[in-house]
């Protein structure tokens, strides 16, 4: 019996949400990222990691595939960009616009389509994203500048601290990323976060327990749109312009790939997936213009080695090891 108890304590770590040290440790490591990678690449990684964290909340933890997350990312990017360019909005106001608009869109899409399941929901989100893409491409050309993307966005400053230079911008984005890592961590160990996972595991049973599962899905989507909008908005600040491709379906597809590569349903998966993806893309595209070919081959190799994504498979292995030790 004594033995049993120690085993139980050992195993307790299995399902515990990430320890605080993981969250703070990650932020600490990211402090030094510009020393290893070029600062713009590091900034891009953080921005996409925020997008990825939100997407992972929906795909990895709630088990809902949206194939149109570019809609929220792009709408966030455009909302901020338009506010900066035409309304001379300050940084916080612009970001607020870039976060609120996608959340409202998510409420709308959610209200219409959230009852649809699996591939139907994925396709409906794709359709909405493509609608936005074509809206920005031509009917709204006079304000979005169509194919050229939205240019002439002034450099931003916060507390009279210019974000025009790469390094200050990186640390600004890092602060936001740190906050979002922390928020994600809190969400995951909250009753709502646990409910998301229960929903993913067995929707029918979650319902039988008395939960309104439609609302679970709905809020997961809206929160996810918050992350995507925030990332899109930061992307605008980072690039100083909004490319039309932020709304394109390829952006959604890339996000799905990054999340799966890093390990969906793991805390650090999106960050790792985004990091690996963008690093490979940047490095290999310097050598050859046909970088997709090589990056694609590397992904195939990674997924063969890590079927659950990089972090996903590592976690599985760790768990198998602990279970083996506990049952000895």
């Amino acid at each position: 019996m004594v033995n049993d108890n120690t085993n139980t304590t050992k195993l307790q770590e299995l399902h515990a949400p990430p320890k605080p040290v993981v969250v703070y440790g990650t932020i600490f490591v990211l402090l030094f990222l510009p020393l290893v990678l070029s600062t713009p690449l590091a900034t891009e990684i953080l921005i996409w990691a925020i997008f990825g964290m939100g997407f992972n909340l929906l795909l990895g933890y709630t088990g809902v595939l949206s194939f149109g997350h570019a809609a929220y990312f792009g709408l966030g990017a455009y909302s901020s960009g338009l506010a900066f360019r035409y309304l001379d909005a300050s940084l916080p106001v612009g970001i607020a616009a870039g976060v609120l608009a996608p959340m409202l869109l998510a409420c709308f899409i959610g209200a219409l389509a959230i009852r649809k399941r699996g591939v139907y929901f994925a396709m409906i989100s794709l359709a909405f994203a493509q609608m936005l893409y074509f809206l920005a491409l031509s009917p709204l050309k006079h304000i979005t500048r169509g194919e050229d993307g939205l240019t002439h966005i002034p450099a931003m400053a916060i507390f009279s601290f210019s974000l025009g230079k790469p390094l200050p911008l990186y640390y600004f984005v890092l602060v936001v990323t740190g906050v979002m890592l922390f928020v994600t961590w809190r969400i995951l160990q909250s009753p709502f976060g646990k409910l998301l996972q229960a929903f993913r595991e067995n929707e029918e049973r979650a319902k039988a327990c008395g939960y309104n599962t439609t609302m679970v899905k709905f809020w997961s989507l809206v929160i996810s749109a918050f992350y995507a909008g925030l990332a899109g908005s930061l992307n605008t600040v980072y690039l100083g312009y909004v490319p039309l491709t932020t709304l394109f379906w390829l952006t959604s597809g890339t996000m799905v790939m990054m999340t799966i590569l890093g390990g969906k349903g793991t805390f650090l998966g999106p960050l790792v997936g985004v990091g690996v993806f963008l690093f490979l893309q940047n490095t290999i595209s310097l050598i050859t213009p046909r970088w997709e070919l090589f990056v694609g081959a590397i992904f195939v190799a990674i997924i063969l080695l890590f079927p659950g994504g990089i972090m996903g498979t590592l976690e599985e292995k760790m768990m198998a090891y602990r279970m083996k030790r506990a049952s000895k």
Partner: protein, 244 residues
């Protein structure tokens, strides 16, 4: 009268799965539904639990019409079903499986507070773990449990929502003889010690005869006989349908 159905019907196309069944459950009663395969037992269950909408007829819980209520609303009112085929949360730990059900009456959409800080929820979950005898497996993923243990977890999840009426759908399905007896004892205990009203669908006649107060026999979607175990087993009609 705690729960009552009034001429309830469920048709799937031309098939009358449940046809004008009047089912009555008194408070604190342990009542079983038996019948040959395809008699409509599980369908009747699902109608009561809100998993299916009735084609005709009504379901009343303490005189409140709950016929059109969805599964989650009925569950919140305290009528909770278990599943014939295990419906658990496989990758979550055994404790988490029960805890998630236990938090339903306390909180569900709080996304900031730490789930472990809800003391009442945790205490309830721990207590249920003891009731279904799974403490030793506390932190194991539910997918690693044996079949018998999963059946217990299945009941544990339902219990954790603090139901007033527990609908058990073949709880002993696939269990060994010894496990079945143990499980029957537990069900009886839930009924007598916790005062839960229980509706039981069961294939194992020895379980049904030994623990139920009353039995409803169904055949081809209709009520065949209703009565005490004694009356039912003496009934000629039942013997004909059941034993051929």
């Amino acid at each position: 009268m705690l729960l009552r159905t009034e001429k309830i019907c469920k048709y799937f196309g031309g098939l009358k799965a449940v046809d004008e069944v009047d089912f009555v459950l008194k408070k604190g009663q342990l009542k079983s539904i038996i019948g040959p395969n395809g008699a409509g037992k599980t369908t009747l269950f699902n109608l009561i639990a809100g998993a299916y909408l009735p084609t005709k007829g009504k379901v009343f819980l303490k005189d409140k019409d709950i016929s059109r209520f969805t599964l989650n609303r009925v569950s919140r009112l305290g009528v909770v079903k278990t599943y014939q085929i295990n419906h658990i949360f496989p990758t979550l730990s055994v404790f988490e499986n029960i805890r998630i059900a236990a938090q339903v009456r306390k909180t569900s959409f709080n996304f900031w507070r730490h789930a472990a800080s809800y003391k009442e929820v945790n205490e309830l979950a721990e207590q249920i773990m003891t009731q279904v005898d799974l403490q030793e497996k506390r932190n194991w993923p539910a997918s690693t449990l044996s079949h018998g243990e999963r059946r217990y977890l299945e009941i544990g999840i339902a219990l954790a929502t603090r139901p007033e009426i527990l609908l058990l759908d073949e709880p002993t399905a696939g269990m060994s003889c010894a496990e079945t007896n143990q499980c029957a004892d537990m069900i009886k205990k839930l009924n007598t010690e916790l005062g839960l009203s229980i509706v039981l669908v069961e294939h194992d006649m020895s379980v049904v005869m030994s623990i139920s107060e009353e039995i409803l026999v169904m055949n081809e979607g209709r009520t065949l006989v209703e009565g005490t175990p004694r009356e039912v087993s003496d009934n000629e009609e039942v013997q004909r349908v059941y034993l051929g």
